[in-house]
Amino acid sequence: MRQPTRTLWSLGIAVAIVVAASLASSVRADANLPRVVMTAEGIGPRQIEQRTGETVTHDYAQAWHDIAESLNSNRTDLLGEYLTGDCRKQLSQRIADQKRAGIRTEFVDNGHDVKAVFYSLDGGIMQLEDRAKLDTQVFDGQRTIYTGNSTHFYLVLMTPGADRWLIRSLQEVPEKAF
């Protein structure tokens, strides 16, 4: 019997991959990763294969875990291997600036509702819309200078690497852009 999720993928209906639910084996190994729920309703011109969807979901969650760690500790080496190109360069620059200014940013990541909206025919580019619920605190030394909890909207470009999907562009956009 086919699994329900597989059926949904093949029908091209809204697909939800819930890291915390459907990938139970991954959850134990990746308990520290933020929750990422991805749907692929209306994606084109190419459909996402189930395995690709699972990999993208995991790798996107891992990237956000790494971003939060590195911005909190001001360590570029924690940016990990799920970010590349300008995205990595920009975050590295921000971390260097934070370090110089003596500030740091702490995220409490309350999860990402991700919608895959574009997947090129050759499988080389995937575009995602992410509604990220983040509690953010900015510290200057020990002092909190900013606290905010809101939904952030990101337009994301991911490309496949040798064994993982990489975030190449992570652009925060106004809500109306979605």
Partner: protein, 289 residues
């Protein structure tokens, strides 16, 4: 010190304390174009520490409240949400604004695959990313023109609206082999890419035999695809002989449109020819050919 002076001093201290306790108020325009400077209004009194936290930059400096804060274009190159914070003592006020991409100034253009068989449906796909000069994705409506130059010298144009900064389309490869150039352009920016259309599978593969003593030479007719495009030199053609001793195969590359193989034949034998997934004719030897 008389009472009046004392009262004035107390009032001044209270006022100073009140003003010091007020959190600074910042006002920013809702949206700023990437790479342009901006001025924020900072209400309050006295000095404060100003912070700008953006996607790629963090700025910290002293400001005087009540005066405008100028943020340099250099610090606003990357699109995204920027948090402006001003702290006066223990009190901080903040505002945020969006930096959005400016005008299209760059295209990242992918054309796949680099080699494609002729006459294949939707085999060529083009994807263009529309970026501003700072490499931000341009989300405002934009149309990308794709000019397609074919091997026979003809050309056509296709206009594709970009959605979320991406314009993409697929097209059939044409029937003639050769170079196809596709040039993506928007405003005065253009990016050309070239792919090679190559012959498809062989069509009507056929060979003839020329006996010479114990040996027979097998030679194909010129090998072309169904559109008449010659298959490239080096393409492998397989000749297979089956006789009483078993089966043997010779792989021979195409040279000048033809492939040739030579077998020693004693008794009756059958020889077939194939190229890729295409099977050609079969010849029977040692009896009627």
């Amino acid at each position: 010190m008389n009472r009046k002076t004392l009262s004035f001093g107390v009032l001044l201290t209270a006022l100073s304390t009140y003003l010091w306790a007020q959190e600074p108020v910042l006002n920013a325009p809702g949206t700023v174009s990437a790479g342009q400077s901006v001025k924020l209004a900072a209400q309050g009194h006295g000095s404060a520490t100003f912070y700008l936290v953006g996607p790629n930059r963090v700025v910290k400096r002293k400001i005087s409240l009540g005066e405008e804060i100028e943020i340099a274009a250099e610090d606003l190159k990357i699109a995204g949400k920027y948090q402006a914070i001003a702290c006066n003592g223990g009190n901080c006020g903040n505002t945020q604004f969006n930096v959005v991409a400016s005008q299209p100034a760059q295209l990242i253009f992918f054309l796949h695959p680099s080699r494609v068989p002729v006459s294949s449906g939707n085999a060529v796909n083009a994807t263009a990313l529309v970026l501003d000069r700072e490499k931000n994705m341009v989300l405002s409506p934009a149309k990308v023109n794709f000019k397609i130059d074919l091997p026979d010298g003809s050309s056509s144009t296709r206009t594709v609206p970009a959605t979320r900064g991406i314009a993409s389309f697929a097209m059939d490869s044409r029937s003639r082999q050769g170079k196809v150039q596709v040039t993506a352009s928007i405003d005065d920016v253009s990016e050309p890419r070239v792919i090679q259309q190559v012959a498809a599978e062989a069509c009507g593969l056929r060979m003839t035999a020329s006996p010479a003593g114990r040996f027979v030479t097998f030679q194909t007719d010129p090998i072309r695809d169904c559109g008449g495009n010659p298959l490239p030199d080096g393409t492998i053609v397989s000749f297979t002989k089956t006789d009483s001793t078993g089966r043997s195969t010779v792989d021979s590359p195409i040279k000048k449109d033809r492939a040739v193989a030579r077998f020693e034949v004693s008794g009756s034998a059958k020889v077939s020819v194939a190229c890729g997934v295409v099977v050609g004719n079969e010849l029977s030897l040692g009896g009627a050919q």
